[in-house]
């Protein structure tokens, strides 16, 4: 077990190093510098050279790479090029708590509602509830979150004026973005829960539990659900990635001042330090989450022998 965790941990570090280096190489190979904006009349060559030396853009590639790695290890991503008053850390510090809040609320909503939908669908297999739940699930997978978000704004916020249109202030502001973000993952969880519940429910130990005369809710919660949720744990990492990238568009649509907005903005403005900082931050966050999910899976499922990792 310990051996496996160490191995996975080293693998995680390797992945982190690869994504950071990849980010660096890609950023460096962008043609043009962020300072030769043609529309900006105030900039001349001297100013440009000055700026470039200030941000170390005139140094040789390998030196820049060193500075870059140093900044990552010390978790200091330097100043933003386009927002002179902010450092990348300022942006992260301001944006991340909001994005994190949005993401956490959404994933909790997605997991709870997805499992409930899936369990009821499986219990009433081929019944009306099953069809209803699965139609919701297929629709949830098919409708992109930005479409759902704009639809919700139009219907609930603009037409019916039930909820605020945008921003992130009170709990009522959180409802629409959360629904928009949670529906897709909810659908995936519901489908997965349903199919694994259906499989588990035919197992002998469930029949045994029934024969014992155990109360149905106890059978479902203690015997069936516990085993049926294993596949759900495995895709948690992928779902997190989906929620995370989902926040980019949801934050843009609802004008939520989270990290996603800064990321999208930095892309269009070619703000290198911000792009690097946010990408590395996002990737590290995701990769660490994947690592934790893997470990959790090993701990939760006694059938998996972690030290015997070879083969399938």
């Amino acid at each position: 077990m310990i051996k496996y965790i160490i191995k996975r941990f080293l693998m995680m570090l390797l992945t982190l190093w690869i994504i950071t280096t990849l980010t660096f190489i890609l950023m460096m190979s962008i043609p043009g510098s962020p300072f030769n904006d043609v529309s900006d009349k105030t900039s001349n060559e001297a100013v440009q050279a000055n700026l470039e030396s200030h941000f170390n853009l005139d140094k040789p590639m390998i030196v820049q790479y060193y500075y870059y790695l140093e900044s990552i290890v010390t978790l200091d991503f330097g100043p933003s090029i386009k927002k002179p008053n902010d450092t990348v850390n300022d942006l992260l510090g301001r944006g991340f708590p909001i994005s994190f809040e949005l993401g956490i609320i959404s994933i909790i909503v997605a997991i709870i509602s997805g499992i409930i939908l899936g369990v009821f669908a499986a219990l009433k297999h081929n019944g009306i509830i099953d069809y209803l739940a699965m139609s919701i699930a297929v629709l949830g997978i098919s409708i992109p979150n930005f479409v759902l978000a704009t639809f919700l704004i139009q219907q609930l916020a603009v037409n019916l004026e039930l909820l605020p249109v945008a921003t992130w202030k009170s709990p009522s502001h959180m409802i629409l973005p959360t629904i928009a973000l949670a529906t897709g993952p909810m659908a995936i969880i519901a489908r997965l829960t349903r199919s694994s519940m259906l499989e588990v429910l035919t197992q002998d130990y469930i029949k045994m539990a029934r024969a014992k005369g155990l109360a149905p809710y106890k059978i479902i919660i203690k015997h069936a659900l516990k085993n049926a949720l294993m596949p759900v744990v495995t895709i948690l990492g992928t779902l997190l990635a989906g929620i995370l990238t989902g926040t980019f568009v949801i934050e843009k649509i609802f004008a939520i001042p989270g990290m996603g907005q800064y990321f999208v903005e930095s892309i269009s403005q070619r703000d290198y330090p911000v792009i690097m900082g946010t990408t590395v931050f996002y990737s590290a966050f995701l990769i660490i989450m994947l690592f934790l999910v893997d470990i959790a899976y090993g701990v939760l499922d006694p059938r998996i022998k972690l030290h015997k990792e070879k083969g399938d």
Binding site: T15, I30, S142, P144, F146, V264, L286, I287
Partner: protein, 319 residues
């Protein structure tokens, strides 16, 4: 019992079989005794089962219609994709503009079908490239096994750990948004899922007798992979491909929505939805409705078709 039968019962040796017992049997009757059904190949059987799945079939029909409209739709209206007509901006759907016009007076009908071309093209190309790379990589990895497999799988593990859309966004920032770069970016890490599936299947299949038989006849590795292994993994591969298409279409729409999609004057559904974002507040619903509807419906169709194929192509479910 008649006379003859009685006689036979008393003394079997003296039996003389009467001629009316010896009628030639009707050939059709003989066939009725056979306990066979018409033999169906794997694909015929899968097709029959798919046909019974109404949801999957309606998905397939929708996609066929969509493909036809993507080809001919833009020619059905007198307008072109990028043709601007400022006095006519934000017109509601009417006889002259079936789906209305957008903020620059461009015809939404024409742009919707043009968007269908882009979405379908991106989806199909991504699926095809994933197919080729994934099948070759997974096939080699699974068939060779041992050290090769180990190394190839480590590479896949690392690629799998990379956040997919972030890598795509980074690549697009560097390469500049265009149709080709979107496809390239989507497939750089997209083939990993396919490779994993193919490897798993090949790993299982390569120990079957028919593969050993082929090997003992001296068949080359490439022949064994092509003739023995791949045809037997086609089911899962096709399912994976039908599910790759909607995720590629979604990714394209998502990227376009972030401003990393195809550029004006061309249209993709994501670009149109992005343009229409502000319009929705001023009540120009059609500008968002049509691209949004077609993205969702196309993803829906591919998803139900994929689900249907999964059931139809699963040999375990074969009756």
């Amino acid at each position: 019992m008649d006379q003859q039968t009685k006689k036979m019962a008393q003394d079997p040796t003296s039996a003389e079989i009467p001629s009316d017992w010896l009628k030639p049997i009707n050939r059709d009757q003989l066939k009725q005794e056979d306990v066979v059904r018409p033999s169906l190949s794997y694909w015929q059987d899968a097709w029959q089962r798919l046909k019974k799945n109404k949801l999957a079939m309606s998905g397939l029909i929708f996609l066929i219609i969509l493909a036809i409209m993507a080809i001919f739709g833009p020619y059905m209206s007198p307008y072109t994709v990028g043709e601007q007509n400022l006095p006519n901006q934000n017109q509601a759907p009417s006889w002259s503009h079936w789906f209305g016009t957008d903020g620059l007076g461009r015809d939404v009908f024409t742009r919707t079908w043009y968007g269908a071309r882009i979405s379908l093209f991106v989806g199909l190309m991504a699926a095809l490239i994933d197919f080729f790379v994934g099948v070759i990589y997974g096939g080699i990895s699974g068939y060779k096994g041992g050290r090769t497999d180990n190394i190839l799988m480590r590479i896949i593990e690392i690629l799998y750990g990379l956040p997919y859309l972030l890598v795509v966004i980074l690549l697009l920032v560097v390469l500049g948004p265009s149709l080709l770069t979107i496809i390239l970016a989507l497939t750089v890490t997209g083939w990993v899922g396919m490779a994993r599936i193919v490897r798993g299947q090949v790993l299982q299949l390569k120990n079957y007798e028919f593969v050993h038989a082929s090997q003992s006849f001296g068949a080359k590795t490439s022949r064994i992979i092509k003739r023995n292994l791949l045809p037997n993994t086609m089911g899962p591969i096709i399912v994976q491909m039908t599910l790759t298409v909607p995720s590629a279409i979604f990714a394209e729409a998502f990227l376009s929505f972030l401003g990393l999609g195809v550029s004006s004057p061309y249209a993709s559904w994501g670009v149109m939805a992005n343009d229409a974002l502000t319009a929705i507040l001023s009540g120009h619903w059609w500008r968002l409705f049509f691209p949004a509807f077609f993205i969702s419906a196309t993803m829906f169709a591919f998803n139900v078709l994929g689900d249907g194929l999964q059931d139809a192509l699963d040999p375990k479910l074969r009756r």
